[in-house]
Amino acid sequence: MNKPLILVVEDDAPIRNLMTTTLKTHDYRYLVADCGEAALREAATSNPDIMLLDLGLPDLDGVEVIRRVRSWSDMPIIVISARSEDADKIEALDSGADDYLTKPFSVEELLARLRVTQRRLAAMHTSGSPVFTNGQLTIDFAAGCAFLDGKELHLTPIEYKLLCLMAHNCGKVLTHTYITQKVWGTSWENDVASLRVFMATLRKKLESAPGSPQYIQTHIGVGYRMMKIE
């Protein structure tokens, strides 16, 4: 696969160096920007494939950068934040970010997130097809049924709705609020608790080893993500 072009937006020089060194040693092409305005300029002129965006920029709020980019582009955005508060991540995700990393993060974590996003990019080109395939999982949207390893999954209507929602956004972290809004139309405290239960029963039917889930990843306090399996 052709290595994608990554736009690194980070005002702190040592962290920027850490990221560019990591990208360089793994043969990624990259651009850098040290503030929000420069990031928007680079994003518009150089058309990068993925943006790595620090939320704490000197000029613009990172969430503002996401909103502006989203007004004209679907490029995957991975948010990097030193704030450990979940609210910030959720705001960024709900504004259109695809994934997040919390400082301090490890080099392996950064590379793993990039790989996930690349797979998502590759899958985006084949979207719109009536059949979704991911690893052993197949969803036939037209027929309204899902198969695992060729065998039909017996899902309740809510479980099927959840599975389809995750599949349509494969590779992307979906917040609790987003999912409950899509499935129930509301997002009360009880809806989020219900979501956990339905997600658990869905995963029981989907995952062969519940201890190390393959398809659906939990992000405590944030949401869920369907992993793209190669």
Partner: protein
Amino acid sequence: MAQQTQPHDLRAQMIPRWQDLLVTALILAAGTVIGNIFWQFAFTKANIISVFVLGTLLTSLFTKSYFCGVFSSVASVLLFNFFFTEPRLTLHAYEKGYPFTIAIMLIVSIITVTLAIQNIRNIEEKERAALLAKNEQLRADLLRAISHDLRTPLTSISGNAANLLANDAKLDEEARHQIALDIYDDSIWLINLVENLLSITRIEDGRMNLRLSTELVGEVIEEALRHTNRQNCRHNIRVDLPDELLLARMDARLIVQVLINLVDNAIKYTPDGSTITVAARQQDHFAVLSVTDDGPGIAPARQAHVFEMFYTGEHKVADSRRSLGLGLALCKGIVDAHGGTITLTDNTPHGCVFTFTVPLGEVTLHE
């Protein structure tokens, strides 16, 4: 803290609770009955007045309310006038000295009430100040212990990095690798410390700010295990969950921190190849979570102290990594704040079992 409670105090002064009114009425009634007994035995009026003043004092002590105190003062005067002055059972008074007696009685009562309430206020304020001082002390101890223990890993990181910068060419591959490994290990240690400190800063005024939600215990355990230092360890980590879904009310981030601390401790204090089991089950209205290891265990004499802050035992940790004695104290703080308990018991034939409880959660499912 003081500002928060003041409006409440003010309200308590102005609008008495019904319990306070009941206490006031009871004390007044008792005063009247005792006064009546004194009257039967032909005691002097001064004795009866003393009984009423005492009643007023008791009222202000028990109700802690200005309103009840002042009400009691006025009512005492009226009751005294009604029952114990000639002519009895009227509010008239014939004797010349009575207006004077009654005025003195009112003044004494009201001053008594004011002094008593001020005294109570002072005591409460002192208690608040003592709690504040205790928290300050805790924070100061924490800061001292941390500043001291931060020096070691920071010295190692900066020294090793300086070595790499200055002597890069002279060092062989293996030495460079070792230096990088040391820098990595020490920074990971610092990262874990910072995570714990962030949780501790959420303890305010001796209480923890919890953000409660209904969580699946299985998901929480899964998340915690993702963050433990298990990449570099040669331990068998097993998870033992019940078949039915277990929901609990908790601050997920803090309970994840508890599990991380317990599992990391188990990894740190047991030899390679040991088995660590993270289990969960339901018991009455609680979810019971446990972290069990089959390591050497903890001597009974030390078991009583493991949850104390800055207690590090006399362990010689295999990798000579320092321990602040914060982890388990924080675990206890978090579990206590949830209304649960945390205990340490012995595993058979050897090892430790750390068990803690959190209240169960409920959910109504709508399909």
